[in-house]
Amino acid sequence: MSLAGTTGILEGVDRGPVVVPRRRPRRRSYLPYALLAPSLLFLGLFTYLPVVRVIVESLYDHPHGTGAVTATFVGLGNYTKVLADPAFRQAALNNLVYALGTLIPTLALALAFALAVQRSSRFSAVLRTVFFFPSLVPLVAAASLFFFIFLPGIGLLDYYLAKIGVSGPNWLGDSDIALWSVIGLTVWKNAGYYMLFYIAGLQNIPRDTIEAALIDGANAWQRLRYVILPALLPTTSFVVVIALINLLTSVDHVIVLTRGGPSNATNLLLYYIFQAAHENFEIGKAAAATLLSVVVLLAISLASMRIMSRGSHHEA
């Protein structure tokens, strides 16, 4: 890394309010920098440098293989190539369906779980553990488990469906259903985790607002709709951001279960990027797709944080 880059980062720190409190005398102390240096070094090396490299690589065309090494500058060529690629469009569309299809049931379930177990009792402690359990299973392990649950004709799911006289579809091999099977697995895996946030959120709701609603004669649904849900808005927008990032950045189960198939039906953006980089050796295209998806994520996060801060003002 160049010296200029290093000082740039240090200047950034200098502006920060935490490191150099205003009431300190003018005398410059190098101690804070020295203390920060190790973390800054690693942050720079492993966080910022790769980001910069991805940006640079997205502007170049990299020839396949180690034999030839010269990359040619192509400007935004990789971006137009990515956007024109039907596989990318399908992956983006799949990711959208996957994100919405996962997010909405996950949040609904998480909230329902949280409402069910918010009071502390021995029974709800057991339930909490049960609901939370899937979050403890690593995604790869969960996917391997679901491989057998989803086996067409003989899997656990089809076994029980057969008992009630239903013959299940080819869960992972049918291009209309495969993505929904992956969504099902993800909801199962994540709902318990977001339940924790909702439990915390519920416990932060002042008792008196709920009691006031009770005195006003609000029934359970009205209390939920007009008191609890608005009060949970900050929690919800936080969970939405976390969940969306999670949905865009983990594809372990796709790799284990379908490798994006059949016919790209379960291909998600991150796996598309992996394929572009490592199966097709189109590093530039992979970098461009990475940046595009990061930009989308950033936009979603910013929008969500704005909602969150509005929500907390409302609460105050």
């Binding site: 293989g65 180690t66 086996l151 091999g173 049918d174 059949p262 199966e279």
Partner: protein
């Protein structure tokens, strides 16, 4: 399985880190492409090699499936630490040579005073094409396979078929599958036929069907040409389409290899196409009696070979080149190959491996191991093109769409021309 074997390899790698100076230490990447305890056996083999001599210390690294192994080896090479020896899917050689990753083995042969022809003479002729790129030796075959037709003997008897006479043609296969399929109203209790259709496996089996249909998958002489839109390939696709949608003897959609073998074990499928590499796994896990047979033909008996070969990556020091070559020669000796073949079900690429007493006894005891061998004279090279994985996926996506009823066989392959034309060098 893999967690344990990874632990074992980790422990092994640690134990290698300790000793001695004069040794040349080299890395050996190997995949486990089929079900079974192959990683453990490979680790045991490498350990016994390390104990048998003092000059070379090999660290065996388990690197996942075929595609993963290519990826990891190339990533290591890019990072400046190319593995000395890699057990690589036999059809990646062309791609790896074109990208400058692997080295020609001719200099090693020359240093040994051997000629290519003499070296290859003991290997089955069907394997020679995949061992070479542009007329030079680039890899040494290690384990090889062909697809086989596995069938459940009890189901055959039950359906009034003679287990001694497996289907030999596509028509007979469809006919037998119809008799073997068991229905309960609209529901299918048991499918007559199944085969893996996930990425990687599907391309290989499509090559088998296309070859059986008298066609070719790719241009053996030029790594930039595939024959996806030919009558023979589309005919093979149409055959599958008929099995699924017309005769309804094969499940709609894609089933991965694990699902195929499980349904065969569970008696939910009566016949399947699967690699010889799975033979030992099937033998161990199949409760009911089963038999294996040639892949049925339409026009001719022909199957692609599969399996893996040993390659050496570029960028090695002279010492590790020598050490790598020495290790390759040991791994590809008739004794090692024979033992590995008996353990896995892959056939040994060396003819002389079958002359040993152990092998003769083994085949007498397991006659099913002989079928793949008998099919060998009909074997053809495995497709090996520039950017094999991407080019293969173009075909697989189309066939999968057909298996899902999204496209008719006659409409297939339109996008392939656009997709592959971008990738193949002019």
């Amino acid at each position: 399985m893999s967690a344990i074997s990874r632990l074992a390899i980790g422990a092994l790698a640690l134990s290698f880190a300790l000793p001695a100076a004069a040794q040349t230490k080299i890395d050996f990447f190997f995949p486990v492409p089929v079900e079974g305890k192959l990683a453990r056996e490979m680790t045991r083999l490498v350990k016994s090699y390390n104990e048998s001599q003092k000059e070379v210390e090999v660290t065996a690294v388990y690197t996942g499936g075929y595609d993963d192994t290519k990826l990891k080896a190339q990533a290591a090479a890019k990072a400046g630490k190319p593995p000395a020896v890699v057990l690589m899917s036999a059809n990646f050689n062309v791609d790896l040579k074109l990208s400058g990753d692997i080295q020609s083995l001719e200099p090693m042969l020359k240093a040994d005073g051997a000629t290519r022809d003499a070296f290859l003479a003991d290997f089955w002729p069907a394997l020679h094409a995949n061992a070479m790129v542009e007329g030079e030796l680039y890899s040494v075959p290690f384990h090889n396979s062909t697809p086989l037709l596995y069938y459940n003997v009890d189901h055959f008897k039950e359906a009034g078929l003679d287990p001694a006479k497996p289907p030999r043609t596509w028509a007979e296969l469809a006919d037998a599958a119809k008799k073997l399929t068991k229905r309960d109203g609209d529901k299918v209790e048991r499918y007559g036929f199944t085969m893996p259709a996930g990425y990687d496996y599907l391309g290989w089996l499509m090559e088998a069907l296309t070859l059986s249909n008298g066609g070719r998958y790719f241009n053996e002489e030029y790594g930039g040409e595939v024959y996806y839109d030919t009558a023979s390939m589309l005919g093979a696709a149409r055959f599958l389409e008929d099995l699924i949608f017309k005769h309804k003897v094969m499940a709609q959609g894609v089933v991965e290899a694990g699902g195929v073998s499980t349904s065969f074990f569970a008696g939910k499928a009566s016949m399947m196409l699967l690699s010889t590499g799975s033979l030992s796994f099937i033998r161990e896990n199949m409760k009911a009696p089963y038999e294996v047979a040639f892949v049925p033909k339409n026009v001719r008996n022909a199957v692609p070979i599969g399996g893996a070969s040993l390659v050496m990556f570029n960028g090695q020091s002279e010492d590790s080149k020598k050490a790598g070559w020495k290790f390759i020669k040991w791994l590809s000796s008739a004794d090692t190959l024979g033992g590995w073949s008996r353990f896995t079900g892959y056939f040994s690429p060396r003819k002389s491996a079958y002359d040993t007493a152990e092998m003769k006894a083994f085949i007498a005891k397991n006659p099913d191991a002989k079928v793949a061998l008998e099919q060998l004279p009909y074997a053809k090279p495995w497709f090996a093109t520039y950017q094999t994985v991407a080019v293969r996926k173009a075909l697989e996506d189309e066939i999968q769409a057909m298996m899902n009823g999204k496209k008719k066989a006659d409409e297939l392959m339109r996008p392939y021309v656009e997709q592959t034309a971008l990738k193949l060098p002019q």
